[in-house]
């Protein structure tokens, strides 16, 4: 029976597929797509393509015509050191934010895991910084971290000696401080995602481990952490790639200083744009685009693979 049926079915299949295809086109017509695609193409992809063009011109506010200049903008940015230095700052900042935000978020999720009234309140409270403006958060911490600000005053009374640490004035450590502020603002979101991840872990797996005599940390390391992989992927990728595109918190706390040690690519782009040097700003914007694009795929693929291995 199978021998007689098989060839017949094979002959029918293309027609079936074509019919199904035509039907699916009628049932789900393409014109539903066009408005969204038009907006995406005009207001997202066209400016991106412009980036690849105008980065190689002398477009500025000082002259009316725009001419091609080849790699001049990039040579200039390399020669004055801003390209490499801003790129380095942006990468370090993004990595620090990703680490701190995940540490804080996971820590909070583990502390607030059980469904008690106090924990429910605390979870909601930790989401308040997430809904606040990042610019506002930056100004608040600028006040707290001033040389004669509340943190140094507190440390002075605590230690007895005069403490005046320039939290936002160190060319080495300020980038860490600002990354921690960024992580503080977003840790509530990471916490929620870790909480959701913890909830998906089967109770029985943990009970089995408990019966085997495993303690809290052993269960965490051997059972829960590996099972949290999807949450780690999401949190790490969004924190890393999101903070590559950061601006508000750095602008509000240091505006790129001291000495350019916290100058993210977006801070440079904003400043240079304000000076009317549009082509240089565009060149840096292209650099940001390329770096994020180059990073996004390996980071996501690597983290996804880690999930699959487990």
């Amino acid at each position: 029976m199978t021998t007689t049926l098989l060839p017949a079915r094979r002959k029918d299949q293309p027609r079936d597929a074509r019919l199904a295809d035509r039907r699916s086109r009628q049932d789900h017509p393409s014109w539903f797509l066009w408005p969204a695609l038009a907006m995406l193409v005009i207001f997202f992809f066209t400016p991106t393509i412009y980036n690849f063009v105008y980065a190689f011109t002398d477009w500025s506010s000082f002259k009316s015509e725009i001419g091609f200049v080849g790699f001049d903008n990039f040579v200039k940015l390399l020669q004055n050191g801003s390209l490499l230095s801003d790129l380095r700052v942006t990468l370090i900042y993004a990595i620090l934010v990703a680490i701190f935000q995940n540490l804080f978020g996971l820590g909070l999720a583990l502390v607030l895991e059980r469904d008690t009234r106090i924990n429910r309140f605390a979870r909601a409270a930790f989401f308040v910084p997430v809904i606040m403006s990042a610019l506002a958060v930056g100004y608040v911490f600028q006040a707290i971290l001033k040389p004669d600000g509340v943190l140094n005053n507190f440390l002075t009374t605590l230690t007895g000696g005069e403490v005046s640490i320039p939290w936002l004035g160190s060319t080495t450590w300020t980038i860490v401080v600002v990354a921690i502020i960024h992580a503080w603002k977003w840790m509530g979101l990471s916490m929620l995602i870790y909480l959701a991840g913890l909830k998906t872990i089967n109770e029985e797996v943990i009970e089995a481990a408990q019966l085997d005599g495993a303690g809290y940390w052993r269960i965490f390391k051997a059972v829960r952490w590996p099972l949290l992989a999807p949450a780690v992927t999401f949190n790490f990728a969004t924190a890393l790639l999101g903070s590559m595109n950061g601006f508000d918190i750095v602008q509000a706390t240091t505006a790129g200083g001291p000495g350019g040690s916290t100058e993210l690519l977006n801070i440079f782009i904003f400043r240079t744009f304000g000076q009317g040097l549009f082509a240089q700003a565009t060149a840096m914007s292209l650099v940001l685009f390329l770096v994020v694009a180059l990073l996004a795929f390996p980071v996501i693929i690597y983290l996804r693979r880690r999930e699959r291995v487990l």
Partner: protein, 280 residues
């Protein structure tokens, strides 16, 4: 473990709530108290924002001053003017497109989907957007800003909604189609009602982004239309120079209130909506 004394057990049971309260007070209570206390002081007392309560509270008059001097009413309307149409546009266009992207399975659809969601990670070309808007005659206008936000956040909506529509069984659509419903009717009567929770989550996220956005607004409408974050940027730039922290913090309180109020009332839905969308 089984040999632990009752007192040790009780201590262990008290450890978690204590840690929770301590963390909340230290990490959130302290900064929020500094904000509220400083906003309640006069300029002299607010020079160094700290944890001491104001000698005489003048929070209301500070809020009234900043509402007036910071042009907050105008900025509120500016913020709403760019946010509301952007969110509506993104939701409507995004869900229309998502339905097709979720249901048609050709290779070209897969490519279109990948392109459509690439905006989630790729940074917008913020400088050349200004050039494009100038060429289109939209520079510095609300329509220009709305278009830019729509182009930027469509990816987020398409990602969330397409993922959700794929979990809706096709049979539900088929049943409506048997009754003679056309594509638009099927979409409106079958798909949209099921989408409401997903759309609510997406719109909350996008409201959050747009309400607090200052970077893109500085490029596109800076100096032309006031929004709350743009005005905060101006107020703070002038205020920091004059050390007027009580004004800056008052502005921050007023600016955060609308989203905070929404959050207090809808917090359970918001939190469960965001967590269910992220981890699959």
């Amino acid at each position: 473990m089984t040999t632990a004394s009752p007192t040790l057990k009780r201590a262990r049971r008290l450890m978690q709530p204590t840690a929770a309260i301590l963390l909340t007070v230290l990490l959130l209570g302290v900064p929020f108290m500094i904000i509220i206390f400083t906003a309640g002081k006069d300029q002299g007392a607010a020079l160094n924002p700290d944890l001491s309560p104001p000698a005489t509270w003048q929070l209301w008059s500070n809020l009234a001053t900043v509402l007036d001097e910071g042009n907050m009413v105008q900025a509120l309307f500016g913020s709403l003017l760019v946010m509301v149409p952007s969110v509506l546009l993104v939701l409507v266009l995004g869900s229309l497109a998502s339905w097709i992207l979720a249901r048609r399975s050709s290779r070209s659809m897969a490519v279109l989907y990948a392109l459509a969601i690439s905006g989630i990670v790729l940074p917008p070309a913020v400088v050349t957007i200004v050039l494009l808007l100038r060429q289109l005659g939209l520079a510095g206008t609300a329509i220009g800003m709305i278009s830019v936000y729509t182009g930027m956040y469509l990816s987020t909506v398409i990602f969330f909604v397409t993922g959700f529509i794929r979990t809706i069984p096709m049979e539900l659509e088929e049943a409506a189609r048997m009754d003679g419903a056309g594509p638009f009717r099927v979409f409106w009567k079958v798909i949209v009602p099921l989408l409401t929770p997903t759309l609510a989550t997406a719109s909350i996220l996008i409201c959050l982004y747009i309400w607090n956005d200052v970077f893109y607004a500085l490029f596109v409408i800076g100096g032309r239309i006031d929004t709350l974050p743009l005005n905060l940027f101006d107020v703070a730039s002038a205020g920091l120079y004059l050390q007027r922290w009580h004004m800056i913090f008052s502005y921050i309180i007023l600016m955060s209130l609308p989203l905070l109020t929404v959050f207090v009332f809808l917090q359970r839905k918001i939190i469960s909506g965001i967590t269910s969308g992220a981890v699959k």
